[in-house]
């Protein structure tokens, strides 16, 4: 009788553990859901198949990343028919979300071909005539959209600033003059560079036709949310469904991760090759 009891307990434990451990698939399977979520901790992700994407060094163009960091990124995907969301999770014990000299930011990106074609672009950010679309999430933008002040005191709490011309007394009742004066000392913002802020989303939409060609996408449509986990980051990036992507016509997807504390920025990154993207 005692033997049967132990056998039952072991069987139950085994069955329980089987339900928790997902066997990764070799492709990214997109599960259809009623409602999309940007919450990396939402329950909807529990039932979605998992893809473990092995990462490799970006060592095609200088500056290259010479020492590997993030070994793999765990990916899940869902769609509501019109939008598609990807949940990326990877290990990174440090939290790098403060910009500054020699401070680099944790981030991740998903990349899709602009056009469905059996002859896919080069996975290293596409090639001439074969554009890729990139949605790029950054930890510092996440902090800012969640309410962290976008000023120097958020980075250096003890910083003391005498005066900004845009905040001069004679301008205090003239918001337009204040904005114009501030723009004089922020040329990137004056030029309308989306990257330079102010920021409403932690994700930036980009296009590329090969290394060194990364440019803002004509339209800004991606959304996202990232949360720091005990051992890394979990990030959801959503964007419109790729044109032509369906159950009958699969696509390809690639991923990149930047570990800020490892001086990863721009071309210094871990990346994957193309991975099949399949609508279930």
């Amino acid at each position: 009788m005692r033997f049967i009891t132990w056998l039952t307990i072991l069987a139950l434990l085994f069955a329980t553990s089987c339900t928790k451990v997902q066997v990764p698939t070799v492709e990214v399977n997109v599960t259809q859901v009623k409602e999309l979520t940007l919450d990396p901790n939402a329950a909807v992700w529990d039932a979605v198949s998992l893809h473990a994407s092995k990462m490799i060094l970006q060592d095609l163009v200088e500056p290259r990343l010479l020492e590997p960091s993030t070994p793999e990124v765990m990916v899940k995907a869902i769609t509501n028919g019109s939008e598609i969301a990807f949940r990326l999770e990877w290990l990174d014990e440090s939290q790098s979300d403060m910009p500054g000299p020699r401070h680099f930011i944790d981030g991740c990106a998903v990349q899709l071909p602009s056009k469905l074609d059996p002859n896919v672009p080069a996975p290293q950010m596409g090639e001439v005539g074969k554009t890729v679309e990139i949605s790029y999430w950054r930890a510092d933008w996440q902090a800012i959209v969640e309410g962290r002040a976008d000023n120097i005191n958020a980075i250096y709490p003890n910083a003391s600033i005498d005066h900004y011309p845009a905040e001069a007394k004679p301008l205090e009742n003239n918001p337009q003059a204040q904005a114009e004066t501030a723009a004089r000392y922020a040329p990137a913002r004056a030029l309308g560079s989306r990257r330079s802020g102010p920021r409403e989303q932690p994700v930036e939409d980009l296009i590329a036709e090969g290394p060194s060609t990364l440019s803002p996408a004509p339209n800004s449509f991606s959304k996202g949310k990232g949360v720091k986990t005990a051992k890394g980051w979990a990030v959801v990036i959503s964007r419109p469904m790729p044109t032509g992507f369906s159950a009958a016509t699969p696509s390809q997807i690639a991923f990149a991760v930047w570990e800020g504390s490892h001086i990863e920025v721009g071309a210094r990154k871990m990346r994957t090759g193309w991975v099949p993207l399949i609508l279930k």
């Binding site: 060592d59 163009v61 200088e62 500056p63 290259r64 990343l65 010479l66 910009p99 500054g100 000299p101 020699r102 401070h103 680099f104 976008d150 000023n151 120097i152 980075i155 250096y156 910083a159 600033i161 005066h163 900004y164 011309p165 845009a166 501030a182 004089r184 000392y185 922020a186 040329p187 990137a188 913002r189 004056a190 030029l191 309308g192 560079s193 990257r195 330079s196 802020g197 290394p211 060194s212 990364l214 001086i263 920025v265 721009g266 071309a267």
Partner: protein
């Protein structure tokens, strides 16, 4: 990498892009012997260009006390320690750099040899101010000629290099050199703030703006240059240590071009750390009271001769007159000439911009004043 000619090295060198010189090259000469480190230039620049959010720590222009001053901290020593020493040789009577530049010694996977300052390195912009090279013993007194420890002031802006390290470092091509005047700029719409330029500029004159996630740098006040005017840090220099203009290559040097005359003909103004390989276009008249063992590693093998020429300036009317034109007008002097005891600065069409006597009338007053029948003490 392409092979390009760097006349400051006396040889060809490797560079990321082929040689492509601008139609004319913005350049400047700073006379270190005149600088008093009042920082008026620093403030003129700061209030004009970098008073915004994210620019708080930026000093596109700074003045540091050598040997100990540096902003950011140890910008020069850090790179010198990465380079394999300074080996200059001589071929056909010309100095030739035998060592490696930052481009030729780029490690695997990198575009240039460089290093990244940390935020603390920007926290002490005037560290070492007025600190002497050696200790002063109790009871020391001034001796002339100079027997005491030394220091001098080094005013620095972007060198608008012919072969910019920042431009070579940027993987996105966000930095460009204007073909019309050689001024080096960061395209604020294209820059993505990777800070590769900050790493790659050996002079550390590109700064990261954490508020806009872009890198920014000295723009040589190009809106003024386009109007024929000197940059703010030149126009506001109360020591009149600076002259702005345009430089030709040595083979096309023109004696009536102020910069060409000082750099190529008199060879009294020298580039800052030519061994880095960037062909910087701000030239310095080295301090004459500093041991040349120190200044030689900073300004190259022409230092001893430059000091000798400068010391002889009282006997050289042409040089004296041109030195007198420094800071005499906000307009950029494209040409100059000496007429008797006067130096004349001109625009590119030869029209006079300024006329400066370089010998002021001297009156020696007799000790006894006959008119008032009184004896006065002549004080200096």
């Amino acid at each position: 990498m392409a092979r390009v000619n760097n006349w400051q090295l006396g040889r060809e060198m490797s560079y990321w892009y082929p040689e492509s010189r601008p139609q004319k090259q913005f350049a400047a000469v700073f006379d270190t012997n005149k600088c008093i480190a009042c920082q008026t230039c620093t403030l003129a620049c700061k209030t004009t260009w970098t008073s915004g959010k994210g620019q708080e720590y930026m000093l596109w222009n700074n003045v540091e006390s050598k040997p100990y001053g540096s902003y950011p901290l140890a910008w020069d020593l850090n790179l010198l320690s990465l380079l394999d020493g300074q080996n200059w040789g001589e071929e056909n009577g010309q100095s030739v750099y035998k060592g490696s530049t930052i481009f030729e010694s780029a490690p695997a996977g990198e575009r240039v040899l460089g290093w990244r300052p940390e935020d603390e390195d920007y926290a002490y912009p005037n560290v070492g101010e007025d600190d002497c090279a050696g200790g002063i013993e109790h009871g020391a007194s001034i001796e002339i000629p100079h027997a005491m420890a030394w220091f001098y002031y080094l005013a620095r802006i972007c060198n608008h290099c012919t072969y910019p390290g920042c431009l070579a470092s940027c993987p996105r091509g966000s930095i460009y050199k204007r073909p019309e005047d050689g001024i080096v700029l960061v395209d604020q719409n294209r820059c993505r703030g990777y800070q590769e330029c900050v790493r790659g500029c050996p002079y550390k004159k590109v700064f990261f703006n954490p508020m806009t996630s872009t890198s920014e740098k000295c723009i040589a006040c190009y809106p003024k240059i386009e109007q024929g005017l000197s940059p703010q840090c030149f126009a506001n220099c109360i020591g009149k240590i600076r002259v702005a203009g345009f430089i030709n290559t040595p083979d096309k040097a023109e004696a009536d071009n102020p910069i060409d005359y000082l750099v190529h003909i008199k060879k009294v103004a020298l580039p800052l750390f030519p061994q880095f390989g960037l062909e910087p276009n701000v030239y310095y008249i080295p301090p004459i009271h500093v041991p040349t063992a120190f200044t030689r590693q900073m300004f190259g093998p022409g230092t001893d001769k430059a000091v000798e020429i400068y010391r002889n300036a009282p006997n050289d009317q042409d040089l004296t007159s041109l030195l007198g034109l420094f800071g005499s007008t906000e307009a950029i002097m494209r040409k100059w000439k000496r007429v008797g005891d006067k130096a004349i600065g001109m625009d590119e069409n030869g029209k006079e911009l300024v006329n400066v006597p370089f010998k002021e009338p001297v009156h020696i007053r007799p000790a006894y004043d006959k008119l008032y029948q009184i004896t006065r003490t002549n004080c200096p």
